[in-house]
Amino acid sequence: MAKIVILGAGIAGQAAVTLLRKKLPRKHEIVMISPNEEWNWVPSNIWVGVGIMGAEQVCFPLAPLYERIGVEFRVGAATAIHPEGDASSSRPFVEYVPAGTGGETRRESFDFLVNATGPKLNFGATPGLGPGEGGHSWSVCTAEHAVEASAAFLEAVERMKRGEEQTFVVGMGHGSCTCEGAAFEYVLNVEHELKRHGVREKGRIVFVTNEPELGDFGVGGLFLRHEGYVTPSHFFAESLFTERGIEWVKGANVMEVGPGRLAWESPDGSEGELTHDFAMLLPPFAGVGLQAYDRNGEDLTDRLFAPSGFQRVDADYGAKAFGEWSPRDWPETYQSPHDPRLFAVGIAFAPPHPVSRPIRTPRGHTYGPTVPRTGMTAAVMGATVAESIADLVRKGPEAPLHRNPFATMAVACVASAGAGFRLGSAATITMYPLVPDYERYEYGRDLESTTGEIGLAGHWLKYLLHYLFLYKARCRPGWSLIPE
């Protein structure tokens, strides 16, 4: 009988745990350890953040689901991995702090471990960033954050209805942020909602991003074939913003968020500053701070994890200059090179390097967007690792691992530009491969598979996907027929 422990009930963790439970008979134990008691369909948090959806529409409790499908659920935060066991037992185990116990640690042994912990939201990287104590901006990273952002947004709308002018700043709260797509969606939804509330003319909206160009999205931008031309994505992003009267600041390394003001460093080393009445700024991500120890208690953390706190997998982490980066640097199996029983998926795996060209300022700061490892890519990684572990359990340690190279993944993304059955809109983007390969494709990607269009149909698709993925995550009848 095998025991598999999954850390983190996010999109990647849920894909892994549900597929493992489907593939393996009940005699094999599957344990989920997650600090979150609810599953959150994060892509819809942008709609919560402008007040058109409630948190209950994007979340559901996990305990009844796991009880029904036969998964042990421990609500708590994992703190350390002991892949060799300890002095008393050679069985690997993970330490975690159960919720509400005041710091007392417990251990859970495992035969295979999937690290799907997602990110630590590193608001501390920029002074004044975030919705917590000492913070002066909002976030939509969690449903709870999105509810808070929505309340502040609707207060600003009320002030506008009373005749006040307001400035909205949306974007990335640090030079090394990822998930620019989420901020891009949120700013378009803010604009759409201000129009719907009839107060658009009283609002100035500014998008502040660490991307070197709009439409970079952490994947180095993309080229799209359109009306007989091959056009870079920044033309389309700039067009969308200009059409909606949204101003933008690109290449910004936000240095400080104060009450009603924001300061950043630009690629040329100059400083910029804006005053605002409402700011939604996403934080940079870091690993959740897992430690690792060998059987003697010696620290293995530096061998298992990158300095960012994300787990090393089968990627090439050798230091390389931008021109030497290759799609072959990226992982295929998501297995730890240190221990074949350990895997990491979604945001939890350490990328070997960014995809976008880094920005270097005259002051010596280097920053730039990090590649997104969320949504479809996270779920596909979770499913790939679940297939590998199921084979290792059923066929033994010689079973070949399933491979789904991160670099050559095909990706689809539907970015909302405003909700509404008749007046909604969304940009539907497909991309193949995820990491541009200029040796294979003239423009880095296959132009047949790399597409983008905006319109009402995109909104219908986004709305459909919202319900479809919540249905799948709840393991309703036929859930496994819905692909990641």
Partner: protein
């Protein structure tokens, strides 16, 4: 260099950015056109899902 674009204001020259024509804007919100695009987008998604799960 960081560029901050000012919002388009009536009676000013058009911004130096590609802009959709009125026809494009109408097509984006036309229910009939978008029903067709919805079908096409779903087919495109199926192709991408097949590629992603190879």
């Amino acid at each position: 260099m960081t560029v901050v674009k000012k919002p388009a204001v009536p009676n000013q020259p058009p911004p130096l950015v590609t802009q959709p024509t009125r026809r494009s804007l109408r097509r984006r919100q036309s229910v009939l056109v978008q029903l067709w695009r919805f079908l096409m987008l779903n087919l495109r998604m199926v192709r991408m899902i097949r590629k992603a799960h190879r």
